[in-house]
């Protein structure tokens, strides 16, 4: 069965600092991989996605993620965090040919001004 692990439950960074949120997936083949962001009281918004091809994918709001097959990872990065980035971030994976996404437990990002 697929699983997605986000090792960090909470992360606090200063505004302007760089950010990396970790995500590891467990699946034999290459999955579809996603990062979603959830602001308080809101639904989930897609930040970026990986299907195939270039392992470095660019998303909205200045985020990027890199797929590393050897490490089964899909970490999310941003070079300079803004206060408005404070939110809950979810990594998710889907199986090719499957019909659902499996989500990680989320990482709550706090941004210090």
């Amino acid at each position: 069965a697929q699983s997605v692990t986000q090792p960090d439950i909470h992360i606090t960074v200063s505004e302007g600092a760089s950010l990396e949120l970790r995500c590891n997936y467990s699946y034999g083949a290459t999955p579809y991989l996603f990062w979603y962001v959830q602001s308080p009281g809101q639904g989930l918004q897609l930040l970026l996605k990986y299907f195939s091809g270039d392992t470095l994918v660019q998303g909205i709001k200045g985020f990027e993620a890199e797929f590393k097959r050897s490490q089964s990872s899909f970490n999310l990065r941003k070079p300079s965090v803004h206060w408005s980035d404070a939110a809950e971030y979810f990594c998710a994976s889907g199986r090719r040919g499957g019909n659902k996404l499996t989500f990680g437990t989320g990482t709550q990002l706090k941004v210090e001004l």
């Binding site: 579809y32 996603f34 009281g41 989930l44 996605k49 889907g94 019909n99 659902k100």
Partner: protein, 118 residues
């Protein structure tokens, strides 16, 4: 225009009551889902329908009954509500992975319906 809309956004009710949450999507998708997000923010799939046909039914009490009158709507009815049903329920939609339209699993979410059972 809201792509995936759920109603109501907030629902407070007593234990033992029956309630429904409605979901509609105007994206032309053929697959819809219900996810439950608990107090620790964990998201777990409950149901998925493809063209009105149930394709995923995770381990969910049979007090929960989804209904899809057409592929743009997926409603969730809950009987005999319990305290543990308190959560945020998210509706989502996507193109079917087998649709042949190049879709690769991306879900579009509604804003959630927060259910509080007292």
């Amino acid at each position: 225009d809201t792509a995936v809309s759920q109603t109501p956004k907030y629902l407070v009710t007593q234990m033992g009551n029956d309630k429904s949450i409605k979901c509609e999507q105007n994206l032309g998708h053929d697959t819809m889902y219900w996810y439950k997000q608990d107090s620790k923010k964990f998201l777990k799939i409950m149901f998925s329908y493809n063209n009105k046909e149930l394709i995923i039914n995770e381990t969910v009490p049979n007090r929960f009954s989804p209904k899809s009158p057409d592929k743009a709507h997926l409603n969730l009815h809950i009987n005999s509500l319990e305290l543990g049903d308190s959560a945020v329920y998210f509706c989502a939609s996507s193109l079917a992975l087998t649709s042949g339209r190049g879709h690769t699993g991306e879900l579009f979410f509604g804003e959630g319906s927060r259910l509080t059972v007292l």
